[in-house]
Amino acid sequence: MKQKQTKFRVFFAAIFAALIAGCSSTPSGPEQEGAPVESRGGTPGSGVAGVATVTAGGVDSRGLPAVLTDAKSILSKRSVYFDYDSFEVKAEYKDLVTAHAKFLADNRQFKMLIQGNTDERGSREYNLALGQKRADAIKKMLALLGAREEQLESVSLGEEKPKNEGQNEAAWAENRRGDMLYTGEF
């Protein structure tokens, strides 16, 4: 299965002839690693106005222990929802965040990516910054409850990856969210 996937990826790359280099699946360090990654792709000089097409690569996914995926385990729940214009982790998510912090404390080899999200209203870049505030709030709580700083990375997807594409309060409430992803899921 894995091999098949790999083959498919190579095939995909050949077709578009332009995979970018350096699609790391672990969070980058506190500073950029080494020299900036350069990648080449496309067909130089093709087309009238001289625009070469590049196809962006993806990220590999790996198997996770059942305790993180089993629906009966609290650790299979990964989302924290926020009120409008709020960055506060509500009391109802305390147990969930505590369970993840404990898992991370007990399993130092695991890393977590926390993705903050917002609803679609307003500027994309400002929303990206708002989503960062939500991810940071979750990260801070995880760190206070025992996870180590180097296990955690908080990032924002802003309004770009809505769970619900509707344009109403119920949809927006679903999108004001922080998601906790483990190594292999991002």
């Binding site: 002839a17 950029q32 067909t43 130089p44 625009v51 962006a56 870049e125 960062q132 940071d136 990856k161």
Partner: protein, 433 residues
Amino acid sequence: MLRPLLNLCGLSLIAFGLLALLQTPARAELTIEITGAGANRIPLAIADFGGEPGLSRAITSVVRGDLERSGLFKMIDSGGAALTEASAPIYGDWKARGADALAAGSISASGDGRQEARFRLFDVNKQGVLAGSAFVTSTPMLRAAGHRIADAIYEKLIGEPGVFSTRIAYVVRGGAGRYELQIADADGQNAQAALISREPIISPTWSPDGSRLAYVSFENKKPVIFVHSLATGRRVVVANFKGSNSAPAWSPDGNKLAVVLSKDGGSQIFTVNADGSGVRRLTTSSGISTEPCFSPDGQFLYFTSDQGGSPQIYRIGVNGNDTQRVTFDGTYNVTPRISPDGRSMAFISRRDGSFRLAAMDLSSKQVQILTDSHKDESPSFAPNGRMILIATEMGGRGVLSAVSVDGRVKQRLSVSAGDVREPAWGPFARQAK
């Protein structure tokens, strides 16, 4: 194995390009409709260009289309009059049709397999020649020659450079999990994908020389800033620090970018060289500082911050001092973009729950709301400062709209299948003489 495939792709692309151009009208990727026009439009007649019928028809339609879409001209029907740049127009006839200005031209083989496009612009009232030029062109560049003629006519009659030869960048979302960063001519033609990704792409912005785009890509499941050379497809990661990397803005000299990084906690503005080296922190506000934009003189950065409780626009010196608040009306003013002459600022303001394009005169601080839409985003100025390109929503779909700085002229640009968003108007083309 890859190399022959690449070459094959290149050849077929060129062949396809030639084919597409020989067929007139060319397939429209983006369609542009005018939804508002200027108050005092100049009555202008453009006679059918002379020369080989297919080529001359194509170039005439490019020139007419460009000038008509600008909203600044009232196009006078030329009634199929046969006239070239070499003819002596019968001014009385054109005056009777209501034209103040008349353009005529031709396209002819220049002997080396290329074509020469010539035009002349006449002042109907003063009965004299206003301008004239010749452009050597090849069949695939025929539209480009038409845009240059339209630019010359525009500049002579309006008194500022035309932007018909410029390009725009924008992102098309074609269904879930398909994002394309496209580059098209300012008339929406010749759209080509610079980047295809399964994850979102936002905030494209042109380098001052028009050769590169900086943007934010989520292909690594987090926002990372790339600089992408359009001709080669070469990409450089400019910022991929721990946390989020976003909101790139070029310095006017093209050497640096202002970026927003969360690596030190919060979202703060830094500057970085275009190759990713030399990262320096600029803002140290509490809360959010984002959406930086350099003033054209390179001395200041305008940005959005919530340090006063609600998102407002501020200005800071490039050496990190002298922070001033710029917007005061309302509780949501974001995405500052400074006009090429440095005199006005386009931004998005929330009014009565709707997000609308606004412009501020930076000396008088006077604000004018330019649209009555609900979801305006991502303004960018045309390089001559006349129009502002924005993303907005119509019938639940993302469309682009160009609005003149006085709010009178409005154009809508839409793609038949998909959401269009995140527009960026490119700089003036560098023209080889």
